[in-house]
Symmetry: C2
Subunit: 338 residues, 2 copies
């Protein structure tokens, strides 16, 4: 059902199984103990970066199914997307599954968008199990959005590092914790940021809008949540979000965590403002937060993934960067009584 | 609810309002009398082709709202997508609306995908009205997927012509005919076609799979429909679809129509195998079929939009072309008793 401009599911929907796979650099960061698999070969055994990303995504989905003892035939729909032109990272990952496929595009907000759509398909009775999947790869993103790797371009201090990472989660009508209970579809916010090396600033207003709408619609306060997780504002965008919300009288300083900031050690890994890419928040959701909810270590979180809806061409045409933030609320078994 | 691998809505959902806008060449073809607006300026008053496509899409949505006497605030969600890298055609079209936005990617199948998602949001009670929108533009597609226009490249006989066109439809929980009653989410089919100038052949197997699954799941026969509409197999892909279905004992020759073949006069418009692009089937659905359903001239159709999920780069990397086909069933007021 709708509550204001947000969505509340008729029943909590199980995140039946989930998996995370990351690359070597991500596997050397502060989150390294949480991922299901760290792959040292950035090509994932393939001949080019784009095939590597598709392989990363398809293996993450396969691992999520395996962890849940599920077969492909148990999945009614895959909802997936990525950053590669025409979302081919996902198309080629899904191609061999023979599972119905809805392609979505929300840039780095894709995991929250695909979770919401998979949740809606399942809560509405249109599927019994749907999978939400996304990925990103440092090398596909660099050559598409920035420079050839061999050019060795200098990165600015506000730039984020596109993660080689993927997350997959199966939303199910039946099953146990963690649970997806609702969420909020994002609106585009664009305050005129044109610096493509400062995506955090471009996305912060969208995150503020979505989080504020959801708190209002559900009549909840930041204190009601163990964590309000954004992905990926990074070290530059995060304080902007806190400031924007404070101006509206909402203080999330205690609860706020950001997947981009969590992924890397800024001091030792030379990643500047933090991680980014669809796979950053997806892998941290599936590797770090979902297990904690499953084990009743935390009980109620908001997962607010942010995306910058630009192309490599749009800034060259003088366009500013539209931001979006989709939000999903997740709970533990104990958290259901909140 | 699910029926097999298809979807049946709990109630018929009104296509409350709809609009179609096309460019000059499309407005000179056999369908010219059916479109709401034919715009002779291919730039739509903008400085570049990408902005032109966004303007086309935003004006089509605005026209659909205007025809339904709707305000932006009446729309709970826009579900939109297009062919431009990172779907910026849609992002920039939606940016100024402040309406929640789900970006989708299904290549030229996008109108069926967005209709299905808008229908699911509405039938499931997550929105009271959601809009499905898509667009394509000859000049954005040519320079992104093929050659600079000024290069004057020769097109092969099997090539299709990307339409400058857009369609928008508002799916509503309440309202009159035409009605969206259900549909089928496509699976990727890839039989190894690698010729990017022959998309019809690449997409025909996906169309056959989706149509066959829907007929089976709903226990219906081709004769139950006034039209089984594909978009856009064109003049090369259409006979392949008929053959593929005939081999399965299904004859849709009488009912089959294809938006790509309908859009242009092959003899006089030099468009070779027909029209293509997200906007081709979207504008013909919203300009030609939906009014006929509204006026009880036809009663029951399948709208099976097809997409080729390649990028400009994937064929260069040796990949074949994955096809997909999403399907929506539409009915007139009288058709509800079928």
């Amino acid at each position: 059902m709708r509550i204001g401009s947000s969505i509340a599911f008729s029943q909590p929907r199980s995140i039946y199984s989930f998996a995370s796979v990351v690359g070597q650099k991500e596997g050397e960061g502060p989150m390294k103990q949480y991922f299901d698999r760290i792959e040292k070969d950035p090509t994932f055994g393939e001949k080019n970066w784009e095939k590597a990303e598709s392989r990363l995504q398809s293996e993450t989905l396969a691992l999520a199914l395996q962890k849940g003892r599920l077969q492909q035939i148990d999945i009614d729909c895959i909802v997936a997307g990525d950053l590669i032109n025409q979302c081919t990272g996902s198309s080629f990952a899904v191609r061999d599954t023979k599972i119905p496929y809805l392609g979505v595009y929300g840039a780095c907000s894709t995991m929250a968008e695909s979770l919401l759509v998979a949740g809606i398909l399942t809560d509405g009775g249109y599927s019994s199990k749907s999978a939400a999947v996304t990925s990103s790869h440092f090398s596909t993103a660099e050559r598409q959005f920035r420079f050839p790797l061999s050019y060795g371009g200098q990165r600015t201090p506000t730039a984020q590092w596109t993660c080689t990472a993927s997350g997959a989660a199966v939303v199910s009508a039946e099953g146990g914790a963690p649970f997806l209970v609702g969420g909020c579809i994002g609106k585009i916010a664009d305050l005129g940021v044109t610096d493509t090396s400062n995506m955090g600033a471009a996305m912060a207003p969208a995150a503020a809008d979505t989080i504020m709408r959801y708190l209002q619609d559900t009549q909840t306060k930041p204190e009601d949540y163990d964590a309000i997780v954004t992905g990926d504002l990074g070290n530059v965008g995060s304080p902007l979000l806190l400031d924007l919300l404070l101006k509206q009288g909402i203080n999330i300083r205690t609860q706020h965590q950001d997947c981009g900031s969590l992924m890397f050690d800024e001091q030792t890994q030379d990643t500047h403002a933090g991680g980014s890419g669809c796979g950053c928040s997806a892998s941290i959701l599936c590797g770090y937060y979902l297990p904690k909810l499953q084990n009743n270590e935390i009980h109620r979180i908001l997962f607010a993934a942010t995306g910058a809806l630009l192309s490599a061409m749009s800034p060259q045409q003088g366009e500013s960067i539209p931001g979006i933030c989709h939000l999903a609320e997740l709970r533990s078994q104990e958290g259901l009584t909140c």
